[in-house]
């Protein structure tokens, strides 16, 4: 993890001179946005997670700062209401985003030994967008919560290529 070399942002427009370049370099440039565009939508990603089951609003709280200084590390906390007993607990918590190159962020596997259904992590947000957390309960029901963040960009970034 050398700090010095790769300096580009997570998801950024292609530099103009690359767009102008012909041949293989050009193909790479074209293939990247296509790969990003071909990602499943937020709703599709959630459907894959739930296997098509209905997702209800509530029982889940997603905490996300509304205004983000740098999209490279955004603290999120997901809490689900559950007694977390052997017969009634949260099995999985999935976190999904709307506009990154991939819709999945993380899937957490919990159980009765978790005590509380609460996880925190730090995520990347390529741009201002919506994030959704979905909890799968041990009875097979799915509950969700969504939040939006505005990602500001620093004026003085290292990489100007």
């Amino acid at each position: 993890m050398s700090g010095s070399q790769p300096t580009h942002g997570y998801f950024r427009p292609m530099p103009r001179r690359q767009l102008l370049a012909a041949g293989i370099a050009g193909l790479v440039v074209i293939s990247l946005p296509r790969r990003a565009l071909s990602r499943p939508s937020l709703e599709e990603a959630i459907r894959i997670f739930t296997g098509g089951a209905e997702v209800l609003d509530g029982r889940v709280r997603l905490e996300l700062p509304p205004l983000v200084e740098n999209g490279n590390a955004v603290g999120v906390t997901v809490t689900a209401e559950s007694p977390m007993t052997a017969t009634d607990h949260v099995r999985r918590i999935g976190v999904f985003n709307e506009k990154n190159p991939e819709a999945n962020v993380a899937v957490f596997h919990l159980g009765p030994r978790s005590g509380r259904a609460q996880v925190s992590t730090r995520i990347r947000l390529a741009t201002s967008q919506t994030v959704v957390a979905v909890a799968e309960m041990s009875d097979g029901s799915f509950w969700s919560s969504r939040a939006s963040a505005i990602v500001t960009l620093a004026a003085c970034i290292e990489d100007l290529t």
């Binding site: 050398s2 004026a155 970034i157």
Partner: protein, 259 residues
Amino acid sequence: MRILCGVAAIFVVLTCHIAAADGIEDEDRRSGFDFMAPETRALQSDDTSNPGMLWVLQGEQLWQQAEGQAEIACSGCHGDASRTMHGVAARYPAYDEATGRPIDLAGRINSCRATRQRAEPLAPESDALLALTTYVAHQSRGMRVMPAADPRLAPFRENGRRLFQSRIGQLDLSCASCHDDNWGKRLGGAPIPQAHPNGYPLYRLEWQAVGSLQRRLRNCMIGVRAEPFAFGAPELVDLELYLTERGSGLPIETPAVRP
């Protein structure tokens, strides 16, 4: 009377201007920490969440690792860093007798490698050099920046001040244009801080890693579309030296977190 008042006002404006031209008033001096969002502050303030602590941890291991032909570790000479390195970062850059120039902490570590350990120098911004520098600087966390008083440093500090105030690059901006004259205002969405050195090496969210003050200075030079000085260039060390005086009294935060 009116004329007198006018003259007095101009005098006040002028003296204020002269004072401001030389940096920031003592009572206005604020760490970059104060300009950050609460979430970013929280990230720095808790060692179990501060990612810079990963470099401190690595530095602690490297401190005890024998290196070079001499097969000696930093700890072989300097022992317990929490005791022997306490306060060192607060007074660096220091005067280096061997070169007759100021030397910064990373430079000192590499000079120690060459002369004591007889080992290859660590590359600028390599994880190992950053980890050792961060570990050493961390031993002074909470202490005040206290620039070295050695009079032989004066001409180099003066050169640092000159560089800080010189307009460079296609944007024709000096460091002072932003950080003396316009701190506290916003550039795009981001507040302009006062450009103090008290958190370095620090974890920058933009870098997704720990980096040195020299990396940040080069970063700024690229920002104004100037050709940056090479890592280790005397000009960068002179700038570091001036920044230490300019930020004197601020607490060392290493490893700080910045956006």
